[in-house]
Every structure is written in structure tokens, then in C-alpha cells.
């Protein structure tokens, strides 16, 4: 089996979820080729090999620095052909997921997104995907000879295989008609830990009382090297930016640790956090529904507990 993995870059660096996609492909067995499009750091490209890619293709054409979905999907469909790939694996993301869907159509492949485990190939090719916003899973059989799989965070364990891959330049021919969307400007938090990729998330709800109180939450996040999230009303009221909103209608997170402060635990919020490994809830109301979904809970006032918790985290280092 030949597996092609699309690795996404962000400011030249390979996204961690893309390395998980390489590890996922390695876990499937077969020959793994990774492909990166646009500007990418040479050392970072080389490091992809450690997760099991024997070959790393790099298309450095500067026109690929803008993430045009149509362009990326044409390049990847062609790369699948050139590499004789049976399967394309990539990480779910605002870029990866639509690109994968288009590649599936271009190549006549069966497609699944939100895949959470390695495929079962004992009879056919069956993947487990998350549905109903994490409230259930479906086992779906991909019947076409070619397959495109978009995986969610933690679908594969990120571990080094001890192998070394070689980086090769990949020449692309771009089609002008594919540049069918134009990015006018990008506003992006730099240096911040991205919420969908974070291993620890510290999240605040309406119980934080107002944006002016976020300092104590940010202190805890900093001490834990965590990303920050919030409930929907918090972003609706503009206390926090919209991309921090976690839940059914926001970002779905899957960290090792999710700490919810002053969030009641409405089912729509839980839908975005139910893939977290460990959930800590801090709420002054002992009957808050969130406690039922938590691993650890503290009943108390956030304004009292947060500074103490931050101090305890720093002391334990």
C-alpha cells in the first residue's frame, strides 16, 4: 500500500496534527510519502521522516504560500497519481478537510473525515469516525480502491520510529483557473498555542463575570502552557475572540486536560470537549451539570481558586 500524507505548515513549521497524520499512515503499514506545499523550514521537513515517512516531497512554489483550497486539491490529486498512492491521509482542519473532500472527487476515492482510529482491514477497509459532535461513532467501510482520510487529533500516537526520510523537490504545474478565491488579509494570533491542537486548555464561562477578569485565567494558562477557550455567550458578548469559542457550534477540542472555569456545562458546550482525556471543573454551584462530565471537580469561587491554582502549578514545577 502506498500512502501519501499531506503535511500542513503554519509560518513554515509543520503542524503537530500533520505529524500525527504521518504517524497514522505509518501505523497503517505500507510506504509513506509526505508532501508539504509552500514555504517550509528545511529542518522541519527533514524531521517528518522521524515519524515514519520514507520520502518527503516539497513543492516550494511561492504561489502555494497562499492557501487556496482549489489549488491545493489539484496539486494533491496529481501527487496521488504521481506517487501511485492508494490512500491520502491528512489532518482535519479549515484547510485540510475541504482539500481532502475535493481530492476524493477528483480521484474517485471513498472519503471519511473525523476519523479517530487506525482502519480495521480484517474484512474490507473500515474506519471509525466521530459523529453527532462526539456523542457517538460510526464504523464506515470505504469501498473504492482509493481512499482519502481526514483524521482528528489523537487518532494516532505521535512517536518517533527511528527512521530517516529524504527530502525531494516536487515540481508542480499550477492552473490559473484554480486560483478561484483570493485572500485579501489574514489576522492571526502569533506565538499563541492553537486551540484545536493544544494539549491543555483553560476555558472560562459567564461565571468569570467580565473580560476585565480574564487576567487570572490567562495567568493559569501561561503557567500550564495552555491555550485558552471560552463558552459561547462569552464570545457572543465579545469578552473573548470568536475563535476561542468551544462547543457544538464552536471549536471541538481534544486535549489531555480541559479546565472549565465558571462554565455551567450545557450539553452544547460538552459536545465540544467530550474528547478530552481529563476534565477539571471549577464552579461555585455544586449542582452545575458540568460536574457530571468531569474527572475532577472543585466547588468554589473562581476568583479565589484561580490564583491559588496558578501558584500551586508554579510551585510544582
Amino acid at each position: 500500500m502506498n500512502i501519501l500524507v499531506f503535511v500542513e505548515t503554519s509560518e513554515g513549521k509543520i503542524r503537530k496534527t500533520s505529524l500525527e497524520a504521518v504517524a497514522y499512515a505509518h501505523g497503517m503499514g505500507g510506504t509513506v510519502t509526505a508532501i508539504a506545499l509552500g514555504a517550509a523550514d528545511a529542518n522541519e521537513l527533514q524531521a517528518i521522516g522521524k515519524y515514519g515517512a520514507s520520502k518527503i516531497l516539497h513543492a516550494a512554489d511561492t504561489k502555494l504560500n497562499e492557501h487556496v483550497i482549489q489549488v491545493y486539491s489539484s496539486v494533491l490529486a496529481k501527487a496521488m497519481q504521481d506517487e501511485n498512492a492508494d490512500v491520502l491521509v491528512l489532518a482535519n482542519s479549515s484547510l485540510g478537510t475541504p482539500v481532502a473532500a475535493k481530492v476524493a472527487i477528483k480521484t474517485g476515492a471513498s472519503f471519511a473525515s473525523n476519523v479517530s482510529e487506525l482502519p480495521n482491514t480484517s474484512g474490507g477497509f473500515v474506519v471509525k469516525r466521530s459523529i453527532y459532535t462526539g456523542k457517538a461513532f460510526a464504523h464506515v467501510e470505504l469501498k473504492s480502491p482509493k481512499k482519502v482520510i481526514a483524521i482528528r487529533k489523537n487518532a494516532a500516537e505521535l512517536k518517533e520510529t527511528g527512521s530517516v526520510g529524504s527530502v525531494t523537490n516536487y515540481v508542480v504545474t499550477l492552473n490559473d483557473a484554480d486560483f478561484n478565491t483570493k485572500t485579501i488579509s489574514t489576522e492571526k494570533a502569533t506565538g499563541e498555542i492553537l486551540l484545536p491542537e493544544a494539549e491543555i486548555v483553560v476555558s472560562g464561562g459567564r461565571g468569570m463575570k467580565g473580560p476585565e477578569h480574564w487576567g487570572i485565567l490567562l495567568d493559569l494558562a501561561k503557567a500550564l502552557h495552555a491555550a485558552t477557550g471560552c463558552s459561547k455567550p462569552v464570545s457572543d458578548m465579545g469578552w473573548r475572540p470568536h475563535h476561542e469559542h468551544v462547543g457544538q457550534t464552536g471549536v471541538k477540542v481534544a486535549p489531555q486536560l480541559y479546565i472549565a472555569i465558571g462554565i455551567s456545562g450545557a450539553i452544547q458546550h460538552l459536545a465540544g470537549v467530550n474528547s478530552s482525556k481529563c476534565i477539571v471543573v471549577i464552579n461555585k454551584d455544586a449542582d452545575a451539570p458540568f460536574f457530571k462530565a468531569a474527572d475532577y471537580g472543585i466547588v468554589g469561587d473562581a476568583f479565589d481558586i484561580l490564583p491559588k491554582l496558578t501558584a500551586a502549578v508554579l510551585a510544582a514545577k
Partner: protein, 243 residues
């Protein structure tokens, strides 16, 4: 301008999910069905465009007859007419192929960023691919200027301003518009608005669901005293091993 809004018919966000027939079928008992929350944003923006620039709004659903109350609700909110493709929406590629069959001739095809049952987040990209037109998602702001759409699109950790020519497919999310609630007049007029039922174009599906599974239940919460916050840190380190 002609706008097509594709709506999914999904369990209410508070629904408890369960399966029957040895985990091969969704258990609909006691479940309330709604217009997908993201699709509701798409519909709300379409109605705003209708009010400000005189567009016509058609809603489309791929579903069996039980989705008709959901379609009527979209008509009550303000859509002019509706199409139901009479088929079970088995997988995204199948749904996209059905939508693409009917989406030609529209200037703007609005969808939700994702359905909340299968959460694929791809039907818009697939329809764009099938029709050879741009698709953008998730769109938080959408304005039409002449033959161009100006959009704000969410990306990980931020947003992008994106432009594309019409016709175009957009997957919508908040705060593109405020959800609209049907009023009495809307509900009355929805009863007589045209709802066309069409048979699916046969497309064999290359993705087959074998069975469903529920996540393993969570263990009981371990409570820690507010006077002993340090214990939480210790237990996260040594017991849960997440620090």
C-alpha cells in the same frame, strides 16, 4: 439574485443519542428534529439578502418525507420555495451529488459549516468541486458587491478576508446573521408555498456505515476541597498523568 440554501434535518442539540437494531440504526424515539444550527445561520443570511437586495431564496433538503416539517419551518422563516430530494442522506458524497444536480443556475449556494449529525464539514466543498465553482467555509461574514462575494472566514487561531466571484458555495457559521424565528404570518404562508419533491439521481455510495457505537461512559467525578487546591495539581500529575 437567486440563492439556494441547503438544510439538513438533524436531532436537536440537547438530544440524547442512542441506537437500535444492534447499533445499526439511529433511535429517533423522543428526539426532536431541527434545521441544522449552522444551516439556520445560512438561511438567516439568505433572508437578510432577500430583504436588502430582493433575492429569491429556495431551500433544499435531501431526505425522506419525515423532513417536511423542517422544510416548512424554513419556508416559515422566509424562504420562497423548497425542493426535497426524496432519499436517505447516507453519506456526504451522495448528498453533495444530489445537491449539485439542482444547484445549477443559482448565484449563491449557502450551507452550514457542518451538519451536526455526521459532522463531515465537506458537502459545500464537494458541491463546489462538482459544479466547478469556488467554495469557502466557515464564513462568518458575507457581503455581495456586484458579481463578487466578500467574506470573512475563520481559520485556526484567527480569520481571513477572502473574495471570490459568484456563483459560489459558502458554508456559514455565526456571527454571519442572527437566527430567525418564524412569526405567525410566516407560519401561515409556509403551508401554501411550493415544495417540490424530486427523486434522487442514482449514485451508488462508496461509503457504507456498518454500525454505530457510543463512547465509553465516564467514571464518577472526584471532588477536591477548595481549601486544598494543591491536591488537584498533585493528582493531575500522579493519578491522571496529564501534567
Amino acid at each position: 439574485m437567486k440563492i439556494l440554501v441547503c438544510i439538513s434535518h438533524v436531532p436537536d442539540t440537547t438530544s440524547k443519542i442512542a441506537f437500535v437494531d444492534s447499533n445499526t440504526k439511529f433511535d429517533t424515539s423522543g428526539v426532536q428534529f431541527i434545521i441544522g444550527p449552522y444551516d439556520d445561520y445560512a438561511l438567516a443570511r439568505a433572508i437578510e439578502l432577500k430583504e436588502t437586495s430582493g433575492a429569491t431564496v429556495t431551500v433544499l433538503n435531501v431526505g425522506l418525507i419525515d423532513t417536511e416539517p423542517t422544510i416548512r419551518k424554513a419556508l416559515a422563516i422566509g424562504a420562497d420555495d423548497a425542493i426535497r430530494v426524496n432519499a436517505e442522506p447516507t453519506d456526504s458524497l451522495f448528498v453533495a451529488a444530489q445537491i449539485a444536480e439542482h444547484a445549477k443556475g443559482y448565484d449563491l449556494i449557502l450551507m452550514g459549516r457542518e451538519s451536526i449529525d455526521f459532522n463531515s464539514g465537506v458537502v459545500h466543498a464537494m458541491v463546489g468541486e462538482m459544479l466547478g465553482i469556488p467554495s469557502v467555509s466557515p464564513v462568518m461574514k458575507l457581503d455581495i458587491e456586484g458579481t463578487k462575494a466578500k467574506m470573512s472566514k475563520e481559520i485556526e487561531g484567527g480569520k481571513e478576508q477572502v473574495e471570490a466571484n459568484l456563483p459560489l458555495v459558502a458554508g456559514c457559521q455565526e456571527p454571519i446573521a442572527e437566527w430567525k424565528i418564524p412569526n405567525m404570518r410566516g407560519i401561515m404562508s409556509a403551508r401554501t408555498k411550493p415544495l417540490k419533491v424530486v427523486e434522487p439521481k442514482s449514485t451508488e455510495s462508496s461509503v457504507v456505515t456498518q454500525k454505530f457505537e457510543l463512547p465509553a461512559p465516564k467514571g464518577a467525578v472526584k471532588m477536591i476541597s477548595a481549601d486544598n487546591v494543591g491536591e488537584l495539581v498533585t493528582r493531575l500529575k500522579t493519578e491522571a498523568k496529564v501534567l
